[in-house]
Structure formats: C-alpha cells, structure tokens
C-alpha cells in the first residue's frame, strides 16, 4: 500500500490581523515579517489518516509531495517527522502563480511518475485560499475515483471505506483503489511527532523535481497555464457609522426614525 499525501505550505492563518498585509500592485499577500509559513492544517490531518492506514496494515509506504518554493521543505519535513517515508518537492519557477488546475496537473504528473501509488490523500482544502478543488482535480487528471471530506478512512481488501461528513450527518462510502480521498478536520488531530522521528526526518533528503523532470511543458503549468485570473485582492474595509435619532419624546424619536429610514430607502 503506497499512499501519497499532498501537502501545501501556506501563510500562517493565525497571523495577527494587524500583520496581514496585501500588496495592491502585485495582488499578493505580503509575507508577514517574522511569521513563518506553516503546513496547511488539513494536510496534516490527511497525513495522519495515511499514516494510520499504513500502521494498521503493518507494511506500506507514505510519500509526501509538496509543490512550492524551497521553504516548503519545512512542510515536507513536518510530515516526514510524523512518520512518512519519503518526501518530494516540486519546485520550479514555472509552477508559480498557477490555479487549482495547474497545481493538480503538476501533482498528478508527480504521482504518475512515482508509479506504484495506490491512493492519494489531500486535505479537504488548503487553509489559505479555501478552494477545495485540487484533490478533485488530481483524481480527474489520474482518472481515479474520488471521495471528499472524509472523517474516517479504513482499508478493507482492495477498497477504502470512507466515512464522509455531510451537512446533516455522515455518509458511509466505499471506493476501490486506486483512489483519491480528501480528509476533513472531523478526522481528528494530527499526531505530535516523536523526537527520534524528528531527528530521522531531519536526516532524510527530499527529492526535488522540476517541470522538465515530470515531462511538463512550462506553458501548461503555473501562471502560463492558469485558467483562473485573479482580478483584485484586498482587505475589505469595515466601517460603522452611528447616528443618534433626535426627538423630545419617544413618539417623536420613533417618527424621526421612520422618516430617516424612508429617506434612506431602508423601508
């Protein structure tokens, strides 16, 4: 059983509001000073789900893949410290500024290249853009079935029993391997890495792959291949205006309020 976990490094969602800034010119988030990026929370949970299956089965392998800059090594190491066996970093300037489609394309290419993969586990969504598409699109690219927002995953024979979170309850499904599963926070907390594993992970080398390694043309990935265009990124301004309604008596105040609301076309 070989499971691939897709992991994304994102800006810390707990960045204090005052430190969260956007560069209007480039339409990008300015990395907050002194606040290191983190592993997307849902991907940690996906890793936990994969590791539990590996441990339950006795043998098996978990490979963590991340697409991103050099700093994304930290996210990979974190999953390695949790117990994953190998790490792959998909790192190429051509991959930058893509959308869900191009990301899924790159990840799927890397998974194909690994060859013997039985399942792909992703977080239900990346905790920065919250689109929740990449998992589905990987399945699309691979031509595999996909089941999303899992709160429980177990291996049975050649199939995964997946318990899914619905708006009003849970759904039990079964999907034949190979398959893609996206895992939700209802699954539980990712484990705290043991120190011996942290140290072992620190010693592991992460394989790096570029577009060329994966046989991808730079024009079909990253910004060049993206179909989604970001128009404007901004922090909405929140304002509140208060006006006190004058009036000698409560009746008069009520009348003034109604007149005001009518004038503002609120009623």
């Amino acid at each position: 059983m070989h499971i691939v976990v897709c992991a994304k490094q994102i800006p810390d969602p707990e960045t204090p509001p005052a430190a969260f800034k956007i560069d209007a010119a480039t339409n990008k988030v300015v990395p907050a000073q002194g606040i290191a990026p983190v592993l997307s929370q849902f991907d940690g949970i996906a890793a936990e789900a994969a590791l539990r299956i590996k441990e339950a089965g006795g043998d098996g392998k978990v490979t963590v893949i991340s697409m991103g800059g050099e700093s994304a090594q930290a996210a990979i190491k974190q999953v390695l410290a949790m117990g994953a066996d190998e790490g792959v970093l998909l790192n190429d300037p051509a991959f930058e500024d893509g959308d869900s489609h191009t990301t899924a394309k790159v990840l799927a290419a890397a998974i194909k290249e690994l060859g013997d993969v039985d399942a792909v586990f992703c977080g239900r969504q990346a905790a920065d853009w919250d689109m929740g598409q990449v998992g589905l699109l990987i399945a699309e690219n691979l031509g595999w079935p996909v089941t999303i927002i899992a709160k429980g995953v177990a291996l049975e024979g050649n199939a995964l029993k997946v318990e899914r979170v619905l708006a009003d309850g849970f759904e039990k499904t079964e999907v034949n391997l190979p398959a893609v599963v996206t895992v939700s926070n209802e699954f539980g907390e990712p484990r705290y890495p043991k120190l011996p594993q942290i140290m072992a992970a620190a010693k592991k080398t992460v394989t790096k792959k570029t577009a060329a390694d994966l046989g991808l043309d730079p024009s079909e990935v990253g910004k060049a291949g993206a179909r989604l265009q970001l128009q404007k990124l901004f922090i909405p301004e929140k304002g509140a205006q208060v006006e006190f309604i004058e009036g000698e008596t409560p009746q008069e105040q009520a009348a003034n309020l109604v007149a005001k609301l009518k004038a503002d076309k609120a009623i």
Partner: protein, 737 residues
C-alpha cells in the same frame, strides 16, 4: 502599612538553630564521662554491669554482630538496586554547601520542624535513641575495655541523663501515638502499613522495659542500700518505689529483672533490625540525601547534554533515572507532607507526590533485580526486562501532567526528596519519546515551534501594548537594562496593562532600558516544563545568542517564569545575565527615591507568592516591601504564604492544560484569598493573574464585591501616578486553545 501578622511561622532567611544544637549536651556529657575516669575516687557510686544476667555480656555481642550483619546485608541489597541507575553528575561539587545541608537538614532536621508538633516529636525520639545508644556504648566500654569510668559523680550524672532521655523518648512516643491513633490527622494515614505500628509501639516497649529493668535492679541493689544514688535514675527510682509496694521477695524481683532484661535487649535489637526492612532506614538515608541535595537553584531543571545522541529521551524505564533519584526513593518515610501541600492533590486531581515516590520505589524493588541480572549477563541496558511500563502503568500519564512544578513537595520533604526533576524526566519521555501529550498542551508546544510563543490563536502582536506610547525605547545594546516583556506580557490581552504599568514605572524611575519588541521569542520555559527539552534547547540556544549579539547584560522581567529561566537555566547554555524581577527592581527604585508612591490607594490587599518567584527563587521580601510603601494599602496574608504558599495552578505548563479532577487549583487559591476579606489579590506573575481572573468568578459569582486580581506593578502604578490613571484591564484573556 499595617502588615497583619498571620504569616506562616517560618523563616525566609537564616535558618533557626534553636533545636539544632540539642545533641551538643549529649555528646558533651559523654565526654565528661571519659574525663571522670581519671578523677573520681574508687569507692564511690557505681553498679555491676550485667548485673544478674551473666550471659548478657556475650548475648549482647551476638545481637550486635547480627545487627551489623543485617545492616550490611540490607545496605548491599539496596545499593545494588540503586546501582542500576545512571551516573549522577555533579554530586561532589560544592562540598561545603553539601556538608552544611547535611548538618542543617539532615542532623538538625530543619525540614522536619516545619511542622512544629512533628518537629518536637521527632526530636524527642531521635535524641532519645542517640543518647541511649551512647549510654549503652559507655556501658559496653566500661564492661569490656580496661577503661573504668562509670562510677562516682559521673555515674550519677550518667544515670540521670540516661533516664532523662528515656523520658524524653517516651514523650516523643506519646506524641506519635496521639497523632497516629487519636488525633484527626490524616497525612500519616494515607499510606499506613503494619510497620508504622510496629515502629512506634516497639519503641515505646523498648523504652518502657528499659525503665522497668532498671527499676528492678534499683529495687534490689540501691533502693535500700544507696537511696541517694537511686534518685539520680529518677525514672527507674519512681518505678522501683512502685514495685516495692507489692512486697515481692528479692529472688522474685531478680527473676523478674532477668526476664525484663532479656526482653528489653532483644526488643531493642529487633527494633534496630527493623531499620533494614522499614522506613526506619531514613535514619541513614535522610542525612545522606541531604548531602546529595542539589546545591544550585531549585527552579533549575537538568539539561540533557548531547540530546541528539540519546537512545531514549527522558525517563521511561526505571534504570534511566540517575542512581541518586533511585536512592532517594528509599529515603521516603511516607509522612505525606508532600501530598499534603501539593496543589494538585488539594484540588482532588490525580497526583500525590508521596504515592508517586512509593510507586516508583515498589517498581524498583519489583523489576530492579531482574534488570540487574540482565545487565550482569548481557551488559545491555535491559529496557525490555520490565513488562510493565514505567510511564502509563506504574505512573499514569495524567499524574505526570497534573504537576505544577511548584516545588511545594520538595520544600516540605523532610528527607530532601526532589520530586520535580523526577516528574519532569518522565514527562520528557512522554513528550519526546512517545508523543503522548494532552491535546491543549500539544497545541501550545506546536505553537511554540511554529510561532515562537505558546499563545495559540492570539490576535495580538508583540508590539500591540506599545500603542499609545510613542517613546518606547528599543534595546540596542547601549541601554543598561533589557526590559523583557515576554509572550504573556504582550500576547495576552489581560496582561497588557501590567506590561504598560511596568513600562511607565521604569520610565518614571529614569532607568536606562529598552525592549526587544517584535524580536522577542519565547525563552522556552513552557517547552521545558512540558517535557519537550529538545524544543527548549533550540529556543534557549537561539535566545542566548540573540542576547549576546545585542550585548544584553541585565534583564528585567515581569514574569517569574522568564526570570527563573534566564537566571537559573540560561547559564546551562553559557548565558550569564544579571536578572531582576520587576518587583526587585521597583522595590530598589522606591528605596533610592527615584520612584515615589505618593497617592493613597486605600485598599485591603492580599499577596500571592508565585512559586517561581517565591519558593523557587526566594524573592519574598521585595514585593512585600513595595506593598508597605504603597500608602493606604493594608496587607492581610493568606493562610498559606511565603515558602508555604499555594500555587495558582498554572505552573509546569498547566496554563495550557485542561484540569482533570474534583476542583480547579485556581479556585482553591482564590477561595483562600477571598477568606482574607481583601478587595485586591496582588501577585507578580502574568500567569497567576490570568488564573485568578479565571478562578475568582467561579467562587464569587456575584460581580459586586468580588476580589480583583492585579499585578503589583498595577497597584504601584496607581500609587505613583494616581489611581484614575490606571487603564482598566479587559476581561480575562483565556487562551483560545
């Protein structure tokens, strides 16, 4: 300011030597005895040794030899178990302090006397045993060496103090019997065993039969012949007079004497033999453990050297303790003092330091021999020998997590056991080796790793508190002091007013200081206390380097945890700084006049000694002196104060844990504060303040008349700048874990 004086009766400074000198007279008396050998004329008072019991002479030596053999055997048996532990570094460092500890804590029993009743009781029993042993030794010397001195005036004096200490011993036994069987006194019954009865009843019996034997001899040899000698043995004399009333014949008395003599001697040796099998072994182990007691700061935890190369992290197998840690398990006398003062235990949470020590001791006895044998045969560590897990089976996880590292147990332990390092060693195993951590504590640790502070979910920045001040100096190496704000001082809403107060006071005092602002990162204390020594070392190493790069020499902190870490633990990373808690610094400035508290506060306050400032670092006076200088503030101490103070519940990483058990520690302590009738609860630690903000409403649901927790800096800010200048603190900043 009026300090109402219900302070717990105990010293904060020089130890009291009042009772400590008791043994001087006893030793002196014996010396006089030898001196008397040369001086006294021969035909004076004296007695026949082994009177009426001719076989006694050899019997005593047989008993003695057996006892010695037993003691040696017992020692070897114990020592071979301690021997499975790891080497104990630094045990021979600082010998003068160690000898001082042996004298003060071991022989003079400073800790025993922290419970006054027990102090008197224990002193009586101990001195009686020591003196009567000396008495017996003199008899032996008289009988079996050429020296001859038990006659004349010295004989009479000898008789006198022998009886005196016999009576003192009986008084001690009486006090012990009262506590054990009649008083409503719990702690000694939490783990009561058969031996406890045997020890105390046995000793009573030995002392009593001693008197009766003596009385029988006096009745026959002195009562009529030398009544002027007999009165010196006043105990025996009184009983002899009583026996005389029955009009027994001389031969009857002689038979009686023979029987009681044998009984007394056998019982005495049997009692001494119990040293090997019972907690009486503290007789030897307690003074030795006083010698082993570490002489550095009690708030310091040991560093794991070369952590990268360890096979196992922390202690998850009994043989991974140091042998000193194993040795001290044997010293425990099950007195219950530690458990009695343990905040977790007081709140009904699953931790009793006494049971923890006893469980470890039992486990060592269970698996130690097999481990030892395995070692002997294979030379391996033998971690797989024990089938029960030390952490989890022997000591439950929740027990380890409930500890506040408050040090109350170590403060009280009469045999100087150090519980906290032992507990933290096992936590280290849980966290680093097994990754078994309560979820909320794990969140704090992850946050430390990811964000450099333990306050998951805070919306504040390290510079938020500076808003409204345009003159906060950034430390650049030219100022004298670094004001270390700390994560709690900057990232928890409730504490911002404290930080601002300290800042304003420092500025007002004219001190040359700066802050690090965004560049602060946690110094690692929560990681170390929660058991993640690896993470701690990374954080500490980094910060020491930053401090050095910035040329930091002196640090002022508003957090006793930061204070303790910088002061006591950073030297382990070659970081030597002069560290002051703000109470110390501000107290000095009040004394030298650069700060003036001129505005009357008119409040009844009570003062909470945080463990990390008080018990673990001995800063008791500075904050109280500040309170004295605040006009109109009157201090009422809580029942538990100074070194007996009760933890607020936050220490040892419990700030980031859900409490399990009957009650919450912060509520127990809040209740105690409320009982003083004070309207302000003053502390010196941002954690304490948070705990009380959280705990008080649970005890006083009505907002009206509720006691309000403040840092002493907030109170002083009022007194210096005027009460209307204080910024109202926002409601409690619970960590959103």
């Amino acid at each position: 300011m009026a300090v109402s004086t219900n302070r717990v009766n105990q010293s904060t400074g020089a130890p009291r030597r009042l009772v400590g000198a008791w043994w001087g007279p006893a030793v002196g008396a014996s010396a006089i005895g030898f001196y008397a050998t040369a001086t006294a004329p021969r035909d004076e008072a004296g007695r026949e040794i082994f009177f009426n019991v001719p076989a006694g002479s050899w019997a005593v030596y047989v008993f003695l030899a057996a006892l010695m053999g037993l003691l040696v055997w017992g020692f070897v048996r114990h020592a071979s178990l301690w021997g499975i532990g790891r080497p104990t570094p630094g045990l021979l460092r600082d010998i003068p302090s160690r000898l001082r500890n042996t004298a003060r804590l071991g022989l003079a029993q400073d800790k025993v006397r922290r419970d006054r009743y027990a102090g008197i009781m224990h002193w009586s029993i101990m001195s009686s045993i020591v003196v009567l042993t000396l008495v017996t030794a003199q008899v032996a010397v008289e009988a079996d060496t050429p020296l001859h001195f038990l006659y004349g005036d010295y004989y009479l004096f000898f008789s006198f103090y022998g009886d005196l200490f016999g009576v003192i011993g009986l008084i001690g036994v009486g006090m012990a019997l009262y506590r054990r069987y009649f008083a409503d006194f719990h702690r000694i019954r939490w783990d009561e065993r058969l031996e406890d009865h045997l020890i105390i009843l046995g000793l009573g019996l030995v002392l009593l039969t001693g008197f009766i034997t003596e009385a029988a001899r006096i009745q026959v040899t002195e009562l009529d012949q030398h009544p002027d000698w007999a009165v010196w043995s006043f105990g025996g004399y009184a009983i002899a007079n009583f026996l005389d009333l029955f009009g027994f014949s001389e031969s009857q008395v002689l038979t009686f004497h023979e029987w009681t003599w044998w009984f007394h001697v056998s019982a005495a040796f049997a009692w001494l033999g119990m040293i090997v099998f019972t907690r009486l072994d503290h007789l030897f182990f307690a003074p030795v453990n006083a010698f082993f007691l570490r002489t550095d700061a009690p708030g310091r935890l040991a560093k794991i050297e070369d952590i990268e190369t360890q096979e196992v992290f922390g202690v998850g197998y009994i043989q991974d303790f140091t042998w000193k840690q194993l040795f001290e398990l044997d010293a425990c006398v099950r007195c219950g003092r530690c458990t009695d003062v343990c905040p977790a235990n007081i709140a009904g949470q699953p931790l009793s330091p006494m049971h923890l020590i006893q469980d470890l001791k039992m486990h060592l006895a269970d698996v130690g021999p097999a481990i030892q044998q395995h070692r002997h045969e294979t030379g391996e560590a033998g971690r797989e020998v024990s089938t029960v897990a030390l952490t989890g089976d022997v000591i439950k996880d929740e027990t380890l997590w409930a500890c506040r590292t408050c040090g109350a147990c170590m403060q009280e332990c009469p045999v100087m056991i150090e519980h906290v390092p032992t507990i933290v060693d096992m936590r280290r195993f849980l966290v680093m080796n097994e990754a078994r951590i309560p979820a909320t504590a794990q969140g704090a640790l992850e946050n430390l790793e990811m964000r450099g502070h333990p306050w998951r979910g805070t919306a504040l920045e390290r510079t938020t508190w500076m808003e409204g001040f345009d003159d906060v100096p950034i430390f650049d190496g030219t100022q004298e002091y670094l004001y270390w704000v700390g994560c709690s001082g900057s990232l928890v809403e409730r504490n911002l007013p404290i930080t601002k107060a300290v800042f304003r006071l420092l500025r007002e005092s004219g001190a040359s200081f700066g802050v690090m602002g965004q560049e602060e990162t946690c110094n690692g204390d929560p990681a170390r206390r929660l058991g993640n020594e690896y993470l701690y070392q990374i954080l500490a190493q980094q910060l020491v380097e930053t401090f050095k790069a910035k040329n930091v020499q002196k640090v002022i902190t508003n957090c006793p945890h930061c204070f303790n870490t910088f002061k006591n633990e950073y030297p382990q990373f070659d970081g030597y700084f002069e560290v002051l808690h703000h109470t110390e610094f501000l107290n000095d400035r009040l004394h030298d006049g650069s700060l003036k508290a001129t505005h009357a506060i008119n409040a009844n306050v009570t003062y909470h000694d945080s463990c990390y400032l008080g018990r673990l670092n001995g800063v008791y006076d500075a904050p109280r002196q500040i309170l004295e200088m605040v006009p109109g503030a009157s201090l009422t101490e809580m029942q538990r104060n100074l070194s007996k103070g009760l933890c607020c519940g936050a220490g040892g990483g419990n700030m980031w844990q859900e409490e399990v058990g009957e009650r919450r520690v912060n509520q127990v302590r809040s209740e105690e504060a409320i009982r003083t009738g004070a309207d302000q609860l003053i502390s010196n630690c941002p954690f304490c303040i948070q705990m009380f903000e959280d705990g008080v409403p649970g005890v006083q649901p009505e907002e009206e008349g509720r006691i309000r927790p403040f840092d002493i800096a907030e109170l002083l800010e009022d007194a210096v700048f005027g009460p209307d200048k204080r910024e109202e603190p926002v409601s409690a900043g619970e960590p959103s874990a």
